[in-house]
């Protein structure tokens, strides 16, 4: 695969991230379901990691993490490393343990969303900012409502993968 092909491929993946970001940051927060807003960016990171494997998944995770930290308010930097590591792990899991399919992606997405909220809960417990019950009441609907959006994100990135993914441009 030439450098030009690589740029072409990742340009399309970045383009795929754009509607996901628009939905996540600008549109869905206006229409919360029972007060809950979904998290779509982790779904995008999971989709590319499952489809492209560990190394590409880590790279895309880094890009998504960087975007999350810089385009959203209140970033402290941890998501860049967190999503890179998650991309690497999910890529390895899909290559060697799970299948590179929608069920594998769904499992990876659920794991990533749960891990992100678990970290928030741990932080909340350490800083005594809220009780476990109250935080679970936010985390559980958030993970479930986010997973409802997973087929849409999967279809979007699967379409990109079928067009330019893997070594298709080579």
């Amino acid at each position: 695969m030439t450098r030009r092909d690589l740029i072409h491929k990742w340009f399309f993946y970045a383009l795929g991230l754009l509607p996901v970001w628009l939905l996540d940051a600008c549109i869905l927060p206006r229409f919360p379901l029972f007060g809950t807003i979904p998290m779509l960016l982790p779904l995008a990171a999971a989709a590319v990691a499952v489809l492209e494997g560990a190394y590409a998944g880590a790279g895309f995770g880094l890009a998504v993490g960087l975007w999350w930290e810089t385009a959203y308010p209140g970033g402290f930097g941890g998501l860049v490393f967190g999503l890179t590591l998650a991309g690497l792990i999910m890529g390895h899991l899909s290559q060697y343990v799970l299948r590179q399919s929608f069920p594998g992606y769904l499992l990876c997405s659920a794991g990533l969303l749960a891990a992100l909220d678990a970290l928030r809960i741990v932080r909340g417990l350490i800083t005594h900012s809220a009780g476990l019950g109250a935080m679970l009441q936010v985390a559980v609907p958030e993970v479930l409502w986010s997973l409802v959006w997973s087929p849409l994100v999967w279809l979007l990135f699967q379409r990109i993968y079928r067009r330019v993914g893997g070594t298709r441009l080579a």
Partner: protein, 280 residues
């Protein structure tokens, strides 16, 4: 070695770790100002957010006009009745302030005044997470907006406090967000307390007025204002109404649950108080 690191993604992890540290350190050093990278990205994406907000606002307006026409008409007639009532109160008030002015002159008292420097701003985005309550505005440091500035509605009701500022955008922690802490006072009884966001109450769209004095006799519906103690925030801004009074789990102090007056989920235009001078 280089190939091993590259192949296993270790190199990417190291880069990610360095970036995380860089963002973390710069955002903590800059306090209320956005770190340079966030500032650049948010400045570039601000027009997109504004565009989406404008389209969404227009669509909501059309929806309301088409499907809630009857309700709007009803609201209009209610508001007309309220305006007539308020006009009557203004006439009485004008008479009272003339009398007040004469008495102040007689007693040689300093005139009470409230001078605010406002900056109007549009809400371009709402909280993108369920863990905090924030708004993104289309004005930032280029319009002299600073972290710590209070944000109010067109009727002077407190919306929140600016927490993060970029070039052409700023983030507002709403009054129900967990990082809010300011002096509050109940206008009927003059009972003072601390207005603070609480995670449990945030999802219900409420906040607390904590550390109430022992003898405070509050009732549901009492109006709560900012006290302005410490001169950090202006006094007299309407925050909300008392919903109920409860005893702290420790049993040592009482707190009131406050329903904010501002409709936080439907705000379109707000005003940032960039400077204030209050003489009471």
């Amino acid at each position: 070695m280089k190939n091993f690191l590259r192949k296993n993604g270790i190199l990417l992890l190291v880069i990610a770790l360095l970036l995380s540290i860089l963002i973390g350190v710069s955002s903590s050093l800059l306090g209320g100002n956005a770190d340079p990278l966030s500032n650049v990205v948010s400045t570039i994406t601000a027009p997109v957010r504004s565009g989406v907000a404008a389209v969404a606002g227009w669509a909501e307006g059309v929806y309301q006009y088409v499907f809630q026409y009857g309700q709007i008409q009803e609201e209009l007639s209610d508001l007309r009745a309220q305006v007539a009532e308020l006009e009557d109160q203004v006439r009485q008030g004008q008479e009272a302030s003339r009398e007040n002015e004469q008495l102040r002159q007689l007693l040689d008292l300093q005139e009470r005044r409230r001078d605010f420097v406002f900056e109007s701003a549009r809400v371009t985005a709402r909280s993108t997470t369920n863990w905090e309550s924030t708004l993104t505005l289309d004005k930032g440091s280029a319009a002299d907006v600073e972290a710590g500035d209070c944000v109010v509605t067109e009727t002077g009701v407190l919306v929140g406090v600016v927490s993060d500022v970029g070039l052409n955008w700023s983030t507002v922690s709403t009054v129900i967000n967990t990082d809010i802490e300011m002096g509050g006072i109940v206008s009927r009884t003059y009972s003072a307390g601390i207005l603070e966001g609480n995670f449990e109450l945030m999802s219900q769209g409420r906040l607390r007025l904590s550390y109430l004095p022992e003898g405070a006799q509050l009732v549901a519906g009492d109006e709560v204002l900012t006290s302005g103690r410490g001169d950090v925030y202006p006094s007299g801004l309407v925050v909300g109404q008392v919903e109920g009074v409860f005893t702290d789990p420790s049993g040592q102090s009482r707190y009131a649950v406050i329903v904010p007056e501002a409709q936080l989920d439907s705000l379109i235009e707000v005003f940032v108080i960039k400077d204030f001078d209050i003489v009471e």
